[in-house]
Amino acid sequence: MVLQRAAGSLLDVFRSIPLLIQFVLINSVNSLLRLGLSTFKVACLVLAIYTAAYCTELVRAGILSVPSITRRAGRSLGLTYLQDLREIVFPIAVKVVLPNWIGLTLGVMKDTSLVLWIGITELLRSSQSIVTRTQEPLLVLAIAGLIYFLMSFPVARLGTMLEKKWTPND
């Protein structure tokens, strides 16, 4: 119980602090402790922790969505706890979790634009440096936005489609 509450509040911290600040903090910890990680690795690490904080909630909601009667029935048929998780909870929970998980993935994909602050050149940063060269901010930014949109929109559509398909009795 204590562990549960501690984990919950720790993850809550990662959800309540701006990602930009998390990048700067972990980046400075990296240089203070002389860990020698590249900024790319730091960015991946921060995004991974941040994603984990959100994903935990999704998985929890998924497991809770499985009726406890179903699980009890499985257990009383002689399944072990792990078998119950694998054969009963997983197939049911996946249908609840996957659409939201796709949404989370897209959110993280959009949040990657923040890594420009610790000096990684990604889509937005490189379009900004093109802007300083060509002095055409509207056109270049519109193209960058279009690229983001084309990456995100089809997957978002897939997510809503799966959600509609898998929501029971709707």
Partner: protein, 220 residues
């Protein structure tokens, strides 16, 4: 680790950081108020018969949801600037966050509108209330109860999003103040740790306050 932490100068800067937090909250509240109003309009657009209004709604929602918030702020700051509409970093941050919040909230409001029975509207109309009156006195109060949780969530998001202001050169919000001080003193970790604590406190303040408010408002 041969690095000594210097917390004293960072703690001495506490008042400035607190003022930064106030500015951050101000930006978030301002853009949430605007965002909620626009989101209501967009949700109504999505139900209207006009193809143009429905188009505006879907373009706004899809753009807001499928591009990064940072891109949206950039677009307002640099993109609108090249159209001759030069906004300072403060208003362009507010516009950017408003755009983003309105897009996300419009979806929540659309779902909320669907949950209010059509029969209530018809009953009120047949009692002689005008359409705007029905919306304000019958639909809106129930709508706010349904979307209360999404609104609080979005409010926390808005607070976190204000940190993007530093990228377009805002210097007086919490992130901007912290950034400036850490650049001057090279004490990045200390200042940003304090800022992180303040952001966490702001977010907790909003969620706890919303919980108290919900219990007072929706007790029956």
């Amino acid at each position: 680790m041969n690095y000594t932490f210097h917390w004293a100068p960072a703690l001495k800067a506490w008042p400035q950081l607190l003022w930064g937090a106030v500015v951050t909250l101000e930006i978030a509240v301002l853009s949430m108020i605007l965002g909620v109003m626009i989101a209501i309009a967009l949700a109504l657009f999505s139900k209207s018969n006009s193809k143009l209004l429905r188009g505006i709604n879907s373009v706004w929602v899809e753009l807001a949801r499928n591009t990064p918030a940072l891109f949206q702020v950039y677009m307002v700051y640099f993109g609108l600037g090249s159209l001759g509409l030069r906004l300072d970093s403060y208003p362009s941050l507010v516009v950017g966050i408003t755009f983003n919040c309105a897009g996300y909230l419009a979806e929540a409001f659309r779902g909320g509108l669907r949950a209010i029975p059509e029969t209530q509207v018809r009953a009120a109309r047949s009692l002689g209330m005008s359409a705007p009156k029905v919306f304000i006195f019958i639909v809106l109060p129930q709508l706010f109860r349904i979307v209360f949780y999404p609104i609080t969530n979005q409010m926390v998001w808005a607070i976190l999003m204000t940190s993007l202001g530093v990228v377009v050169g805002l210097t007086n919000d919490l992130m901007g103040v912290t950034q400036q001080m850490s650049v001057v003193t090279f004490r990045t970790f200390e200042y940003f740790a304090l800022a992180a604590i303040l952001y966490y406190a702001l977010a907790k303040f909003v969620t706890l306050g919303a919980g108290v408010l919900a219990r007072r408002l929706f007790q029956y």
